[in-house]
Every structure is written in structure tokens, then in C-alpha cells.
Assembly symmetry: none
Homo-oligomer: 209 residues x 4
Amino acid sequence: MDSMSQLNKNSAGKGRNANKDKHEKILKAAIKVFAKNGFHNSKISQIAKEAGVADGTIYLYFKNKDDILIKVFEERLEEIIAEFSEILDPIEDPEQKLRVFIKLHMEMMEKNRALAEVVSVELRQSHKFMKEYVPRKFSEYLNIVSRIIREGKDKGVFRAELQPGVIKRALFGALDELVIYLVLAPKPKYDVMTLIEQSTETFIRGLKA
Amino acid sequence: MDSMSQLNKNSAGKGRNANKDKHEKILKAAIKVFAKNGFHNSKISQIAKEAGVADGTIYLYFKNKDDILIKVFEERLEEIIAEFSEILDPIEDPEQKLRVFIKLHMEMMEKNRALAEVVSVELRQSHKFMKEYVPRKFSEYLNIVSRIIREGKDKGVFRAELQPGVIKRALFGALDELVIYLVLAPKPKYDVMTLIEQSTETFIRGLKA
Amino acid sequence: MDSMSQLNKNSAGKGRNANKDKHEKILKAAIKVFAKNGFHNSKISQIAKEAGVADGTIYLYFKNKDDILIKVFEERLEEIIAEFSEILDPIEDPEQKLRVFIKLHMEMMEKNRALAEVVSVELRQSHKFMKEYVPRKFSEYLNIVSRIIREGKDKGVFRAELQPGVIKRALFGALDELVIYLVLAPKPKYDVMTLIEQSTETFIRGLKA
Amino acid sequence: MDSMSQLNKNSAGKGRNANKDKHEKILKAAIKVFAKNGFHNSKISQIAKEAGVADGTIYLYFKNKDDILIKVFEERLEEIIAEFSEILDPIEDPEQKLRVFIKLHMEMMEKNRALAEVVSVELRQSHKFMKEYVPRKFSEYLNIVSRIIREGKDKGVFRAELQPGVIKRALFGALDELVIYLVLAPKPKYDVMTLIEQSTETFIRGLKA
DNA sequence: TATGAATGAGTGTTCATTCAT
DNA sequence: TATGAATGAACACTCATTCAT
């Protein structure tokens, strides 16, 4: 299950010209810098330096600092959604599908700790993000889960009274908190595997008909 | 179950002198202002105005802006922990205990929307908080849950393989995400009751032996 | 020559009531605090604490912070002038008089390092002092020198072409710079005696007819 | 003897690019503003306005407010030292050398009143300067005098028992006090010429063997 | 007189953003 | 496109001074 290995790279076939490359370079630099210093303590000049461009250049590719954060989130999410779909779509059994989703989510976060920290922790530091951003991509991501729940209900595998719109959030919240713990705790007592097992077992049993 | 109604007030019998009152007034003003504008966009002068004191007065009661946020969190949490304990301690059945805890948590957040927003959203905007603060009170709060889980395991009500340290985080994350939804969503589709039911049923079933 | 020993104390016969005492206590505290931290880095609250009074009390005895500095200067100077006169008046020979004056000045500064630092260094940090203060007392002090010069000229001991108004300043400046050196240099290479000898010899020879 | 006329200007041939110009412009503006209001009462925004740049621009050229003051002092002093050396080095006779030095010093201060005020008065308002700054340039300047004294002693022109390290300070102190008088006194009774003559005669006679 | 809690004016510095080149 | 020098708005915090008690 090393399908996440490319999440940090440009999807093949896209990054052909200088523009795309610079856009990507800045995005990667931003993830690194945000993860290290947090959003508010990250300076545009640091990102520019890390990306090897001039400060002003960043504004040719992004509207402003908040925009960089949102784009990090959206563009990575887009890749993730595509990739997850590819893996999840062929799976028939909703229970198995959910198990795999949780595993994918946690492993991806674990493998991309910088991205994880940015998405789970720093993202909330952007007021614009929390209060103005219309979470299109994020909704799309959450809906991977709600679709699984609905399928499960339809097939009689999951309880009929479940509200997919509620469950998707509860599950995401649970996993996100575990990721934060993994990423921020100085010496985590539990490894990813344990976190995956515990959360998977609890949710699967909790949802089953 | 209206025991939360006093969470915003000073415990009766304490707030007799001006000091306590002013401290409390500033704390309340801060919650209001933080909830409205977010931590980073809140100005000390706004809090002072809202509290009806001079800017400088705030620094007689709090070390700095970060300190206000942390104190909001800690002092309210302390009250909440005390109050929850009073209600939860007499309950024998771990399952029932957990049901009541979820109910208490969600109802409290719902009733104190400003506090909820500060705790769930703005708190993470303080880097000092996220990366330096040793979450004593927060751990204490989470441990209400882990203790219930452990009791449940001991009594054979909850699964033996559960890791209380993982479950407490997963549950808190799930509830927190639902609170954020409730507080930030322009027109939430689900009411608190639904959120409580859905999360309670899922977790109880998920944890049961 | 221990006639300076009382320069830090209230003149006997004055300090009878509480007022005088407190005024004096604050003045002494101020000298200590100014010498240690410099005028601008000294806080009224520090002086109050050192003096053992409340912040507000200081304003019953002094108009403001600048006033304290000026009063330190003036009141101490007044004592010094009186004391110096007592010693210098009986001396007939202008040359001997000047020798004694230099000795008195340097020894006083050496014995009251805190006062020296305040007078020579910190005093200049008060803009009000440098630009608005009418240096009555200071003129009086300088005029001790100009009177000696004039006497010397009259008696034919000092050069006829000397301008007492210029010489008094040159001499004071020279001595003051040596005091600053003595007080601020981490490890002064010269002791007071050397400074006195060198400056005395140079000026006496320089002024002699 | 109009060699001082360029002390306020960049050495010819240097200030070609914008950086040097702006650095210089800010330095000049600072001298003006410091002289007018004193160091502590001068606002960065005033200096910026006077220099015709934005507030922030100042921080591209100077570390902070104290740094401006120190740089004013050091850079001007550097120019002065170089220029004085050029004039003094060819002079053989130590007595004549000292005469010229005093003349140069007083005339320079008289011609650059703003600089004089900053150097003699405001400099001492920077605590960082008085207590932390290692006065390399200033020592260099004072050593112009001690070198003359030493030469004089070697040639038997000045008294053998003179301590150059003491005399240089006494002389500087004397001249500095006269400058302060010249610059701060509302209506000085003496002109520069008189001050030069009086101090020169006194010191030369005082030092002679 | 004495207190000390409260006041609120005052400012150096940062850094996201712009724009002339 | 790319640069990076220049901009200037924004703000937490201090502390001399006041005044109700």
C-alpha cells in the first residue's frame, strides 16, 4: 500500500512548463515552512527563499498568503481524492471499503507529516479559511465517507438510522484528532497501526446493522 | 439537565471583591470577542472596550494576549470538569455514564456557543497554546472519558482490547468536529439532539463487548 | 578630609517631621535606582518600592519623574555648595583654593558613586533638564570656580587674560569626564589620586600667570 | 582651514548607487531630528518623513533606533578621524599639533551644530550606547590626543609625568563642555574663537615641560 | 497624608503586498 | 515573467500619572 508516495509530487504529465513547476515549487516550499513554523509564524520571504524565487514572484501565482494555504489544501486534496477513489471504487463490500479508507487516511497523514500538520493544525489558523472558505474539495473528501455509509445502509450492512452527514464528520473528527496527537505529541505512546485498529474496530462495530 | 447554565458565571460565593469581578468581566469579554473575530483578529482594545475597562487594566489580570486565551480555556474547563464529575460520579453503569457524558459535552457546547467556538476553533490559533502549552486541564477533561472506558473494560461491559488513551481522543475528536459544524455551519441540517444520538449510538455500539 | 560623609544625609536640624523624612527617603531611593538602571529605565514603582512608599505617594512630594531627577541634583548640590564654601572660604591663596576644590570635587564624586553617575550620566537623559532647566544651583556651583579664577587674576596669581566664565566650564568638563571614566569604566587604569594630580597640575600650570 | 565643510557629505566617489544614498539620507535626517528633539523624543516616523522614505525603509538600513544613533556617531567619527589625521600627521611640533587639534575639534563642532548636539548631548541618552557600546571609534578619536601627548613627552616638549590616558579625557571633557555651552546656551557670551584661545592656552601651558 | 488600582496615550517594529525596472 | 526594494498599516504592551477611598 504505497500508493501515497506520489502525493507530494506533481501528477505526471501535468508539470511540463516553467509555470507549473514554479507553482508546484512554491506549494512544496509552503508546506515545509508552514509545518515547521506554523501558518502565522511563516513569512512570505521564508517561503520564497525555500522555493528559490523572489518574494514578489509568489504573488504571480497566488493571491495572498491565505490563498497559498488554501491551495495547499485543495490541490493536495484533489490528488488524494483521485487516488483514494482509484483504490476504493473497485471494492464492493462497504465495510471493507471503510476499513481501507481509514487505513489510507491515517497512512497518508503519517507519511506526509508536514502536510498533516498543515491540514490538521495550521489550516485552522487562517480565519479566512475557517469562516469564509467554501469547503468544496473538503466536502468532496468527506463525501467519500458518506457515500460508503449510504452504500452500507442500502446493502443492509450498516444501520438504517445512520445519518451519513453526521457520521462522516464524526469519523473525520476522530481520525483528525488522532493525527494531531501523532504529529504534535512529543513521544506518542501509540503507533499508527494501533490508532488505525482501534478506530476502525470501533467505528465498524458502531455502524454495523 | 440545566446544570450548565452557570458555566459562564463565577461560582457563587466567590466573586465578592472587585478583583474577581474584573478578572471575570475580562474573561467573558474575551470569549465574546474571540468568538466573533477569531483570536488573531481580536484586538486587546476590543476586549478592553467590551469589558468596560482600560487597555492597561487587562495586563493587571493577564500576562498577555495568549494568556487570556489559555485562561479562558483552563478556568472554564475547571468549572466544567467539576460539574461533570458531580453528575457523572454517582452513575454506576459505564455505558450510561458515557451516554450522559456525550450529552453533557454537546449540550454545554451548544449552550455556550461562544465558548465552543473559542475552544474548538480559536484555541488552535495560538501557536504558544498548540505547541508549548502543557494541556493539564485538557488532559484532565479527556481522562473523564478514559476512566469511563477503563471502568467499562473492568466490568466487562466494553471490549477488553480497547486502548482508553486512543478512544478518549477519537471520541473527543468526533464530538469536537460535530460542534464545529454546529457552530460554524451557516444553516446546520442537524440539531444537537440528532448529533448526540448518532454519535452516542455509534460509539456505545463500537465500544461494547 | 571626610567632610563629605554627610552629603547623603539630611542636614541635621531639618529632618524633624515625617514629611521631610519621606521626601528624603524618596530622594535617596531615586539616587540608588537611577544609578543602577539609568534614568529612563528606572520606574516610579521601583523608586516607590525602594523608598517603602506607595507609587502615588511620590506625587505628593514631587511633581513628576523629571522633577525627582532635578531635585536630586539641586538638593544635593545645595549641600555640596554649602560644605565646599565652608572649607574653601578660609583659604586665602587662590592656587591652593583651586587645588582643594578639585580634590573636593573628585573625592566627593568618588565617595558617592551613585550620585556621581546620576549627576554626570543620567542627568543628561532628561530632556527637560538639558533643554529647559535653568541651572541656578549648577551655576552657583560653577561660580565657585569662576570666583577663584577672578580672585587669582586680581591677585596676579592667574593670567590676566583668562575668562573665568570659560575656564569654569572647561575645568568642570575635564573633571566630569574623568568622573564618568571612573564610574563607568569596567576596570579603570587610574585611581582617583592620579586623576586629581594630573588634572590639578595641568590646570594650575595652565592658569598661572 | 575649511576642511570640515565636507564632513556632512558622503565622501565623493562613494555615493553612487541608491543604497548608499538612502543610507546617507536617513543618517542626515536622523542627525537633524535628534538634534531638534533629542534622541528619546525623536520618533522613527519623524526621521522617515525627514528622509523622505517610509518608516519601514529605515529598517532596511538600520537594525533599530539605537543603531541609527550609534551609526551616526561612528560613521561621522570615521570621516572626522581620517580628515584630522590628514591635517595633523604632517605637523612635526607636538605643541603646534595640539593647537591645531583643538581648533579642528571646536570648529568642526561649531560648523556641524546638529552633529555636535547629537554627539555631545543626545548620545548619552542611549543607554545601550553608554553602557554596552564598546567605543572603538571614540577611543580612536581620543587616541589622536594621547598620541600627541606621548610625542610631546618623548621630545621633551611636554612634562614627563603626564599620563596620556588621563590627559586625553580631561581635554576632551573640557572641549565637550564648551561645545555644549555653545550649542545649548540661548545667548552664549563667548564665541568659538575665545573658547579655542582660552582652552588652547590653558592646556598648552598646563602640559608644557 | 497615604494608597495602589486603574488609566490610556504613546511607538518601535514587522511583514504582507506592491510596482518600477 | 521575475525581481526585491520600498511601502505603511497595524498593534501589543508599558508605565507615568491620577483619584477614589
